[in-house]
């Protein structure tokens, strides 16, 4: 295990040279980028001042290293799991997401969820389950693949029999068939939109709960691959700009389906490696856009997937210690720039905290700290050892033990027999004119 107590990359003399070069041609893009760099520079220089204070007291000594504000984040998460202000009305159709974001953050922090709360989460998610299968954003709402993904993940994190038993697997399978399209894609909900997120949500829940049938993902890999564009990344649907969130969803779905080699992995690797910001250290979601803490997971999380795919393909030149991104720089960005002192994490300095960013900044921090898998593991912790988070599964983004446990449980059960054997007959009913 490698612990980096100093020096920080962002304190290095070469760091300022990494600032954006606008070639004397100012555009909206370059102006916005430079604003962000200035704010990062401000954060770093404040940190530097603290760092260079004489270590005369124990308090200052512990402040010289980047510190994950564990207690503050824990209090923020613990509260949110029960109560949210009316500012969260906009997420009233995403409450299983709130469960997942918070529970996953807690498991990364290695904070146990009290048994009573875990059971309450189970009962609440049961209220979110649709009578026709799948989970909705809240009680009495329509089933939707995104809260379905979140609910299944949250239940797997809880990992009790009660949690597993909430999922109606037969109905879940029929829900997946009901949103499947003839071209291999999935709509997010009946009467809803298509994009590559849906394939990840579907593949994730189907594989975890053991309801994959031979036809469920027919033509899906081909459709996902058609989302890879001239940039090397994937867009939301074929033709769109390459984007970190969609690229992660597409790649992870293909990994689940065992078809990751259908992608041009080399150009995907080039694209994602190029998304790390040379000055900020964090990742942008698209070329020439701004850094955002959540891409610490969506983008950086692609590298473990690519590493594994390339390794499976016979590549012998892969590193045995590091992912193909700057792990230290990402950790510094998250720890110095993405923490709210009162708890919770965020996009970039100046933005508000929220549970989505808390989940994905912490997930990204975990990716940056842990290389390898159970057999070969190399850690790189920036700051104190206490900053160490639990490792996360690169495909499902819940802890690997929970993935294994869920798969083990559900594989004891038979795959449900779909009511509709042929996808094509199911698809016409989802054609969106209702």
């Amino acid at each position: 295990m490698e612990s980096v107590s100093s020096p920080l990359r962002c304190f290095g003399e070469c760091h300022t040279a990494e600032k954006y070069t606008d070639d004397g041609v100012e555009t909206v893009t370059s102006v916005e980028q430079r604003k962000v760099e200035r704010s990062i520079q401000e954060v770093v220089s404040v940190y530097k001042q603290i760092h260079s204070l004489p270590h005369t007291t124990a308090v200052f000594a512990t402040m010289t290293e980047p510190t994950l504000l564990r207690d503050q984040h824990y209090q923020y998460l613990k509260k949110g799991l029960r109560h949210l202000s009316d500012a969260y009305e906009c997420l009233d159709a995403s409450r299983p997401w709130l469960c997942y974001w918070i529970l996953h953050s807690l498991e990364l922090l290695e904070e146990p969820v009290p048994t009573a709360i875990a059971s309450d989460v189970c009962k609440f998610l049961a209220q979110c389950q649709s009578p026709t299968g799948g989970f909705a954003g809240g009680p009495c709402q329509a089933a939707h693949l995104a809260p379905t993904y979140a609910a299944v993940n949250a239940l797997c994190i809880i990992g009790t029999q009660e949690a597993y038993n909430i999922i109606d697997r037969e109905k879940l399978l029929s829900f997946l068939f009901s949103v499947k399209q003839p071209d291999g894609s999935f709509v997010m909900h009946i009467g809803g939109e298509v994009d590559v997120r849906s394939t990840y949500c579907a593949a994730s829940v189907a594989s975890l709960t053991n309801i994959m049938t031979p036809t469920l993902f027919q033509d899906t890999p081909t459709w996902i691959v058609s989302c890879q564009n001239w940039e090397g990344g994937l867009g939301g649907v074929p033709g769109l700009e390459a984007h970190g969130g969609y690229t992660f969803c597409g790649m992870a779905a293909l990994v689940i389906l065992g078809k990751e080699h259908m992608l041009d992995l080399k150009s995907l690797l080039r694209w994602v490696a190029s998304r790390q910001m040379r000055y900020e250290g964090g990742f942008q979601g698209r070329c020439n856009k701004l850094v955002d803490g959540c891409y610490s997971f969506w983008q950086a999380g692609l590298l473990p997937l690519l590493h594994r795919a390339l390794f499976k393909g016979g590549d012998s030149t892969l590193s045995l210690q590091k992912w193909m991104f700057e792990q230290q720089a990402l950790q510094e960005y998250i720890l110095l720039c993405c923490q709210n002192p009162a708890g919770g994490l965020l996009d970039k300095p100046g933005k508000s905290r929220d549970f989505y960013h808390t989940c994905y900044c912490l997930s990204g921090l975990s990716v940056a700290q842990h290389f390898g898998n159970m057999d070969l593991h190399h850690e790189l912790i920036v700051g104190r050892e206490e900053n160490r988070l639990a490792p996360s599964h690169p495909v499902y983004n819940i802890c690997p033990e929970k993935v294994a446990q869920a798969i083990q449980h559900f594989h004891q059960l038979p795959v449900p027999v779909p009511a509709q054997k042929e996808v094509s007959s199911a698809c016409n009913t989802t054609a969106d004119h209702s």
Binding site: Y20, T21, D23, V25, T27, V28, G80, L81, R82, H83, L84, S85, D86, A87, E89, L91, A93, S94, R95, W97, L98, I102, D120, K123, F124, G138, P139, C140, Q141, A142, G192, E193, R197, N229, W230, E231, G235, G236, E241, H243, H261, K266, L269, G281, R286, C287, N288, G313, G314, D315, S316, T317, S319, K322, M324, F325, E326, S352, F355, S434
Partner: protein, 372 residues
């Protein structure tokens, strides 16, 4: 999927409620202070319907502290849904529910059901959805709804102008671009799009969405096979590179349009790039050279020792000095090239057979020439 407090540009429901309460108070001073707003529960038009409170279960989690207004509207929405009521009051309520949470896809779906069942005026719905999108342009449901209405009307005539208006406020709005690409393809409205893209690139040559749109338009119209088109695009790209050499988008575009034909096969390109290296150098230019050299190694037979050596030198330069944030990546690229094209380095062993596309022929090449 994104979470958190509402973004600044959207009207806060609290502000709406406050405004209404002022109006209500002055209009009906006899109402008690706690019931200043015209809640459904107070209105006789809703008296026949029993509101359905949300059932979170016994000990709720992630419990949102809804405003009274929110609770009221959604209690009645749930009641309508439960009864499958298809009425004008239901239609009006969906607008209120949407205003309180435009991401509630269940409400949007129900509104669409009502639009059809009640045979509502779709032109008016277009006006409605136009206003909503202006207010909340980063929401999935609003754009999907607009698409449905356009499809039902089979009328895309307002779309390109409307989307351009949204893009004028945020030139990279992903939903806007998605909708635009759908409109162009579905209704074959390609004629002016390249011109529009050029206008956007004039305004911001770093707009990667615009570069993507350029690729989209050309791919769906002339294609890149025609050498005069390809050359036009290469010249256009080089022109933009000279103006702003550190613009990653244009370098990616140049590579993107040439890679299928092979970067090293485009005549004179290497020379042009080497010339640019003197005055317009950037990490992107150096990376592009690596790509040209790699393509040359892949597709040219005969002695490539010089090319390999140059490629490795560039990877080293990028990793150690010019693009250090990607040090691990460039080191990997160097190692891969070295292994694949065998520099004669005794520490190199031939790699295991690769199954990636395009590399099967290379591993055979390697085995026959690198007997170290």
């Amino acid at each position: 999927m994104r979470g958190g407090a509402r973004k600044g540009s959207k009207k806060s429901p609290k502000l709406i409620m406050k405004t209404r309460s002022v109006i209500c108070f002055t209009a009906l001073p006899s109402l008690s202070p706690s019931r200043l707003c015209s809640y459904k529960r107070d209105r006789k038009e809703w008296a026949d319907l029993e509101p359905v409170p949300q059932d979170d279960g016994p000990n709720p989690v992630v419990k949102i502290a809804y405003s009274d207004k929110f609770t009221d509207v959604y209690d009645y929405f749930r009641a309508l849904l439960k009864n499958d009521e298809k009425s004008d009051r239901a239609f009006t309520l969906t607008a209120e529910a949407i205003e309180l949470n435009a991401a509630n896809y269940t409400v949007w779906h129900y509104r669409r059901v009502l639009l059809q069942a009640l045979e509502k005026d779709l032109r008016e719905e277009m006006r409605y959805i136009t206003a909503i999108i202006e207010d909340q342009p980063k929401n999935y449901q609003v754009w999907h709804h607009r698409r449905m209405v356009v499809e039902w009307l089979n009328d895309p005539s307002e779309e390109l102008e409307f989307i351009a208006e949204i893009l004028s406020q945020d030139a990279k709005n992903y939903h806007a671009w998605q909708h635009r690409q759908w409109v162009l393809k579905e209704y074959k409205l390609w004629d002016s799009e390249l011109e529009y893209v050029e206008q956007l690139l004039e305004e911001d040559v770093r707009n990667n969405s615009a570069w993507n749109q350029r690729h989209y338009v050309i791919s769906h119209t002339t294609g890149y096979s025609d050498p005069s088109i390809l050359n036009r695009e290469v010249q256009y790209s080089l022109k933009q590179i000279k103006k702003a050499p550190h613009n990653e988008s244009v370098w990616n575009y140049l590579k993107g349009i040439l890679q299928d034909r092979g970067l090293s096969s485009h005549p004179g390109l290497l020379e042009q790039i080497l010339e640019l290296k003197e005055t317009h150098c950037s990490p992107y230019l150096l990376g592009f050279l690596v790509d040209i050299y790699e393509d040359s190694l892949e597709n040219t037979s005969g002695d490539q020792v010089e090319v390999l050596s140059k490629a490795l030198e560039l990877c080293e330069l990028l990793a150690q000095e010019r693009d250090t944030i990607r040090r691990e990546y460039w080191s990997y690229v160097g190692r891969s090239l070295q292994t694949k094209y065998c520099s004669g380095d005794p520490s190199t062993t031939s790699s295991a057979p690769e199954t990636d596309r395009g590399s099967a022929s290379v591993s055979v090449h390697q085995e026959t020439t690198c007997n170290s």
